[in-house]
């Protein structure tokens, strides 16, 4: 199933790249956009995006996209992405999205359409463009919600989306429903099973439904996201004692997002709940067949000038709401308690001298290591509970 989707996406992309270059931009809607981001990370303890304790340049994002109107109501669009982030992402190019978007209703009261192909997962405020620096409020998105260690599952799905927007006197409501096969890789195994076990996630299916209300002038925005993912884990032969066997990891997600915007201030908060059930896998996961994690952040952003902004954010993650201090995980599984939570204070500054460039600097003061990638921190018994991180970023768009 996955292979078939892949070939559809590749042919969509080939079609996109082979369109004749002779049309003038005004007679036909056809455009290219791209960006490149380079980051630098330094941490006093633990590693983020590479060996950051000695300073890491191991963070790079590159994206190129194109969109073309192939018929009045039909758009073809796709984006190629390369991302290097420590031991989590190796920089190999992948198709971020590639889709056909057909608008079957376009009225003054709103519109409706359908997308087919590889579609960005609409989740919270930032997920659909999480790898595009100048759409983010900070260099590193709040890791409690937008954790980078299980990115693929969250990035995009191969399937279809139905969407609609209704305009009212007071504002607008936008609703999107994606049904399909979410992307997954070994990082998803690290994130949900804590290491690369024998066997792998073979099939997956899921849906995400996101509805957003925004007031007329976008000064108030509220969004709710609900979804479910089912990941099929398959092992050849009999699993070793303690290792997961054949079964399904079932993940329910729900998120509430709120934002107030003023001329110079923006206040943003999001709350996220994830219910994970892996009882059918057996192994050590059979001991803890259900798990509810909780994430939330509150961020205040101030625009000093149109070019310069600052923000302060508090971001909190609990892997298990029944074990917020991590002591049960320590007693049952011998894992350090600090791997079960992360409480992060972030202070950041951004400078956008013009539309092409963006620079950011951020300071994180973190207690806990719950969102650190095991791939970059293989020995969790060595993890430090209290740590600091400095991150710098430059982005150019074209």
């Amino acid at each position: 199933m996955l292979k078939r989707y892949k070939s559809i996406n590749v042919s969509l992309l080939l079609l996109l790249l082979n369109m004749p270059l002779v049309v003038s931009a005004d007679d036909m809607d056809w455009e290219f956009n791209g960006f490149i981001t380079q980051g630098y990370i330094w941490t006093d303890d633990n590693n983020f995006y590479g060996p950051s304790q000695s300073g890491s340049w191991d963070f790079r994002e590159l994206g190129i996209n194109s969109a073309v109107r192939i018929h009045d109501q039909l758009m073809l669009t796709g984006q190629l992405m390369s991302r290097k982030a420590g031991a989590v992402d190796d920089g190999a190019p992948s198709v971020d999205y590639a889709l056909l978007d057909y608008r079957f209703v376009e009225k003054q009261w709103g519109h409706m359409g359908v997308k087919l192909g590889r579609i960005k997962n609409p989740f919270g405020f930032y997920n659909a463009t999480r790898d595009v620096a100048f759409t983010r409020p900070s260099m590193i998105l709040p890791q409690s919600l937008y954790f980078d260690k299980a990115r693929n599952l969250e990035l995009s799905s191969d399937g279809g989306m139905l969407y609609g927007v209704a305009l009212f006197d007071s504002g607008r409501i936008k609703s999107e429903l994606v049904v399909g096969e979410p992307r997954k890789d070994v990082n998803v195994e690290y994130a949900y099973l804590n290491r690369d076990w024998p066997g792998s996630f073979e099939g997956s299916e899921g849906y995400l439904w996101r509805t957003e209300y925004s007031s007329n002038d976008y000064s108030f925005i509220a969004a709710a996201t609900f979804g479910n993912f089912k990941l099929d884990f398959e092992v050849l032969g009999t699993p070793a004692p303690g290792a997961p066997g054949n079964g399904v990891v079932d993940i329910d997600v729900s998120a509430l997002s709120l934002q107030y915007n003023f001329d110079r201030w923006s206040i943003t908060g999001e709350y996220f709940r994830q219910d994970i059930s892996w009882g059918s896998l057996g192994g050590v996961y059979g001991l803890d067949p259900e798990n509810e994690s909780e994430s939330f952040y509150l961020q205040v952003e101030h625009r000093l000038t149109p070019e310069v902004s600052m923000f302060l954010r508090r971001d909190i993650l609990y892997i298990d709401i029944d074990d917020r201090d991590g002591l049960k995980a320590q007693a049952l599984f011998g894992r350090p308690a600090n791997t079960q939570y992360a409480r992060d204070w972030t202070l950041g500054v951004g400078w956008e001298p013009n539309r092409d460039w963006l620079f950011r600097a951020e300071w994180h003061k973190v207690k806990g290591t719950a969102w650190l990638a095991v791939q970059d921190n293989p020995d969790e018994s060595q993890s430090a509970e209290n740590w600091n991180m400095l991150s710098l970023q430059a982005t150019y768009r074209f």
Binding site: Q73, Q79, D101, K120, F134, L167, F168, Y218, R355
Partner: protein
Amino acid sequence: MIRFLVLLLLLMLPRIGLSEVIVNTSVSLDNVNRQYLLSIFSMQTRVWPDGQPIRVYILPPNQPEHRSFVKNELKVFPYKLVKIWDRSVFSGSGFSPKVVGSIDEMLTKIAKHKGAIGYVMTDIEGGQDVKTLQVY
């Protein structure tokens, strides 16, 4: 004398920064509400009700004329509109507006291209080849 100058200034004030929406003469609508206009300029609506593609023209987003149009006519913060464009373009949900260098170029493009929409300052002459769209 000072009173006269102040009066003159007050009379002139409402004209400063006022802009109006212009469209290609192929567009059949004569008036639109503000929500729909914002949906067009935020690149969410792609097709006119009569089925022809919408082509949005703007001045460079950092220019005072653009910022004034966005604040006074669309009634949204200019930074918010830029974010909406970026999120839409980089998630496979829409096109970018076409940026022109001057009001003259704006008038030329809108006169020439079917389904085109843009804006001019109200005191600009020479809009005979384009149509004004009333906003209510």
